[in-house]
Amino acid sequence: MKKYIYMIFLLFNLAVPLFAQVTVIAHRDVPVEKIKKSQLLDFYIGDIKKWPDGTAVVVFDLKEKKAVKKIFYKYLGKTSSRMKSIWMKNMLAGEGAPPKAMKTEKQMLLEVASTPGAIGFIGQTFVDNSVKVLKTIPLKK
């Protein structure tokens, strides 16, 4: 078992130079510069649907099973399946559809940059000026 854990760590250590750190990005016009973990979770599980200025929050998900996605959800304390089950419940309760899942981080960047009130997550290497960085998720050992 420990072997696996070590292997995962090794993978992370290798992945870090590839993806660098995971950053939470948002549309440039969002009225916040930083975001707390609890707020981010609230946005993602749909408890808060609007930015402080009233703009609707649009969250994005990654479709591929990528390290970035895993790190992000782990940071929020959930698995991707658990997030999906929550979105499922929201959908069944009529509270809206689940976040759109982007195929790549590039697409995520483009979508977030072009959608007002959007929030998403990508590897730091993909970040450019088109989006606002709200948080850089610290790597935990």
Binding site: M1, K2, K65, R82, K84, S85, K89, L92, G94, A97
Partner: protein, 570 residues
């Protein structure tokens, strides 16, 4: 060191310690094993079984979810659809709750590294399929909500059913794994239990065997020797002191046995010694009896002797009495002899003047005849003056003679003091003079008497007795000086005493004789004259009677001094 050489306490400690050790290890081992079994059982009850139930629940709820989704797709009525949606929400909540429960159990067993890798693989696969199923469900709900019933049912039946099957298989696989693991755990517990039971049983038997062995050793090394000791002690009490114990060990019992042996040996020796002593005593007693008899005989003999001695004593006393009487008689005789001497002396002294008186009387007669013849004849043959002168001279001579007689008689009277026998104050010088007068004939003019009378003359005394002393002393002195010599008589006062000394320059007395000078019957005489020496003995008595002292000092050839000390007043 051999076991039998150990001390009793050490033996017991070793024995019981061994048993205790075995018991303790038995206990320790069983507790340890019990804990192991307990852990296994705990693992099964607190982890494996809840995990199985959680997985089964998940399986049940996912299948229900599938059914409700189907019913959702079939349902035409919006209300029914919403009911189905609510049901689905509840089911997802239940699934999530069970997944959470499973996750926490999994984390626990991961900590204990009891989580099987096969199960992990299955779980990761399940998670993936579950996510996939949820993705499909999003599509399905979208279709179903949009009343695209046919497409929805098709999606559910084709892809949904496939994913669900995979998911369900994973879950079933997990249940199997868990079931296998828990049954393995149970088996382990059972094995542990069985092996523990075996070990405990064997250890228990071992303990019994050890206890038995130790007890036997105790009996061999403690009980048996003690019993032997007891029997030996009983024998000793019956008097058999030849009993000896075998010393098999060096512990207290061994020491006791050694001590017992020493004791019996010492007792036997003591008894022999006592018997010896008793026989010795018996022989000694016999000797004693013999001695006693002998002593009794001797005692009787002694008594006889005592009686004889008493008889002799009585005889002696009689003899002594006789002796005393004889002494008194002798004393009397001596006194009479002295008196005789004195009387002879006195008679002689009186005789001389008496002769003078007779002859002068004769002359007087003839003178008177002459005178008468002259008267008748008228013839004067002898002149008258001559006759008268002769007469006168004769009268003078007669006076002188009679005076002399008177002096002698007075001296005698003074000396004897016949009329003054009692204690009175008298002139001692007169006493000495009387004695000298009475002894004039003895001296016969050949001795010179020097008198140095210094002391006051009058003292209290028994004059008759004292005069006798003086007479005796002067007489002795006269006897000591044969033809010529000087007798010096001195009196002097010294404090409250009077000293009277009589010193002659005669032949003296030898020191040997001086020792016996005051003895009754002593005589300094040379044997020419038979005389019993009573003078000094009597003098001693008399001076003692007056409370005075009498001393005699003498050197042979030089002379003798007799000194009398008398108290001045009494």
């Amino acid at each position: 060191m051999h076991y039998k050489n150990l001390k009793l306490g050490t033996k017991q400690t070793l024995g019981f310690g061994l048993i205790l050790f075995i018991m303790a290890s038995l206990n320790f081992f069983s507790i340890h094993k019990m804990r192991e079994i307990q852990n296994e059982i705990d693992e099964v009850t607190s982890n494996w079984l809840p995990r199985i139930s959680a997985i089964s629940e998940i399986n049940l709820h996912t299948s229900n979810l599938y059914v409700h989704q189907l019913q959702h797709a079939i349902a035409i009525d919006e209300v029914v659809k919403r009911e189905q949606q609510a049901e689905m929400i509840a089911l997802i909540d239940k699934i999530n709750a069970n997944i959470d429960a499973y996750d926490s159990l999994r984390a626990e067993s991961e900590k204990k590294t009891l989580y099987a890798s096969r199960e992990q693989r299955l779980y990761l696969h399940f998670d993936e399929k579950w996510e996939q199923y949820l993705d499909l469900s999003f599509e399905f709900i979208e279709l179903s909500s949009a009343n695209k019933r046919q497409a929805a049912i098709e999606l559910l039946n084709s892809q949904g059913q496939r994913v669900y099957k995979l998911l369900s298989n994973d879950l079933e696989g997990m249940v199997h794994v868990n079931r296998d693991e828990s049954s393995k755990a149970a088996k382990r517990a059972e094995t542990a239990f069985l092996s523990t039971r075996k070990v405990i049983t064997s250890l228990f038997i071992l303990t019994i065997i050890f206890s038995a062995i130790i007890t036997m050793i105790f009996i061999r090394y403690i009980t048996v020797p003690v019993k032997e000791l007891e029997q030996a002690a009983k024998k000793v009490t019956t008097g058999d002191l030849s009993v000896r114990l075998a010393i098999n060990s060096k512990d207290e019992i061994g020491n006791m046995a050694a001590s017992f042996n020493l004791m019996t040996k010492a007792l036997a020796e003591a008894r022999d010694q006592m018997e010896d002593q008793a026989s010795q005593l018996k022989s000694q007693q016999l000797v004693l009896q013999a001695t006693n008899e002998e002593l009794q005989g001797k005692s009787r003999h002694l008594e006889q002797q005592k009686e004889e001695i008493q008889q002799k004593n009585r005889h002696l006393q009689n003899t002594l009495k006789e002796l005393h009487a004889t002494q008194q008689q002798l004393l009397m005789k001596e006194k009479m002899a002295s008196l005789g001497d004195l009387v002879a002396g006195v008679a002689h002294e009186i005789n001389n003047p008496l002769g003078v008186i007779q002859s002068s009387a004769d002359v007087c007669e003839r003178c008177i005849q002459n005178i008468e013849q002259n008267g008748r004849d008228g013839e004067q043959t002898v002149p008258l003056e001559t006759v008268t002168r002769l007469l006168r001279r004769n009268i003078d001579v007669t006076f002188a003679a009679s005076k002399r007689i008177r002096l002698i008689v007075d001296s005698l009277k003074n000396f004897a003091r016949l009329d003054e026998a009692d204690f009175q104050v008298v002139d001692i010088h007169a006493g000495i003079e009387s004695a000298l007068t009475l002894l004039t004939r003895e001296m016969q003019g050949r001795l010179t008497v020097i008198k140095k009378f210094v002391a006051p003359p009058e003292i209290g005394c028994y004059p008759a007795l004292l005069n006798q002393v003086f007479l005796a002393l002067i007489k002795n002195a006269i006897q000591a000086m044969h033809d010529r010599g000087t007798l010096t008589i001195c009196t002097a006062q010294q404090d409250d005493r009077i000293l009277i000394s009589f010193t002659d320059d005669g032949k003296g007395i030898s020191p040997e004789k001086l020792q016996h000078i005051f003895d009754f019957g002593f005589s300094a005489g040379d044997g020419k004259r038979i005389k019993l020496g009573t003078g000094l003995a009597t003098a001693y008595d008399t001076v003692q009677k007056h409370g005075g002292e009498i001393r005699v000092s003498s050197e042979e050839g030089e002379g003798t001094t007799v000194e009398i000390q008398l108290p001045l007043s009494r």
